[in-house]
Symmetry: C2
Subunit: 188 residues, 2 copies
């Protein structure tokens, strides 16, 4: 059995044992531009972890035809009425798509096309979401526990955070009467 090997990565629990794992942590202090309620933000501890991402890069960044894999863990929490969420981005090569698969928790996947039309898909354990090309995407934790999801995307997609960092999405996801709702982004 010379050429038979164990799998390189094990789903979720043992992801850490895999090779080429990149770890990224985003704290509140790194996300000052994405939350609208600046007064609520100012009263919170900047060291609070909002989310972690563990990614596997089996080929070099920019490789055409390759794929990357990662798991994002968003902690529960809010800034004012706004749920803890990811920065959100377009892909640098705009037409690159992506898949998200929800592992645990409750979330919302916000999707905005290049004309500024925003919609959201509910994320529940087991749900699979296709993010089309030319679509900005951001994920919010709307539950009481960790929201985690796996992602698969082209290794040449790249990330464009700038557009969203500057203008945000056309709608934001806030809690009203205990429920997540999309409302127009007054920042725009």
């Amino acid at each position: 059995m010379n050429n038979i090997t164990k799998p390189n990565l094990i789903f979720k629990d043992d992801l850490l044992t895999g090779e080429n794992i990149d770890r990224l942590t985003r704290k509140l202090k790194d996300l000052g531009d994405i939350f609208n309620d600046k007064a609520a933000f100012a009263q919170m501890d900047g060291e609070t972890v909002v989310y972690d991402v563990e990614s596997s890069f089996p080929v070099a960044h920019g490789t055409e035809g390759g794929l990357f894999y990662g798991i994002t863990y968003i902690h529960p929490g809010k800034v004012g009425q706004e749920y803890f969420m990811t920065k959100g981005h377009f892909h640098e090569i705009r037409n690159r798509g992506e898949y998200y698969c929800t592992l645990e928790g409750e979330g919302m996947l916000l999707l905005m096309d290049e004309n500024g039309n925003t919609r959201a898909e509910k994320m529940i354990p087991g749900s699979i979401h296709y993010i089309p090309g030319n679509t900005a995407h951001r994920t919010a934790n709307v539950g009481e526990q960790i929201l985690s999801f796996s992602a698969f995307w082209p290794s040449d997609a790249g990330h464009d955070y700038g557009t969203i960092s500057e203008k945000g999405f056309s709608e934001i996801l806030i809690e009203q009467e205990g429920q997540p709702v999309l409302v127009p982004n007054i920042k725009q």
Copy 2:
């Protein structure tokens, strides 16, 4: 909550409720070229289902930058000493990669590069496998129950079954003393 919708697809159990699902069934009679033991093959019922594939194509085949998703279910069984397995293919655009995630059962992922070097990775529930570009891939069920796994691949990858159909892999996976082992393919 105008623009908040349910997820399009639910992992595995409810995949059937999703839109744009394509279903494919491969029976023994469709796979006459992939098993080496022709005498054993001739004695089996050609209507026996070897595997099913359910796929989701959210964009058109050939779309650059898009991704496809599917689940393959390989039934347990053997033809002589050779395990039930998929046809196996290179991608038509050779440099396209793919991810497999094992859902249930026990399997082996056979990988062969363009120089004819074959290796295998064990598939167990939760294992994640990166299939690099320029690499033929085939999956065998080496357990007693269904082997199922999800796959994510570029929507412009395409399938080249011809090369494998003609020559097979350089090594085949057979059962010896109750264990799966790779041995040279005498057909080559």
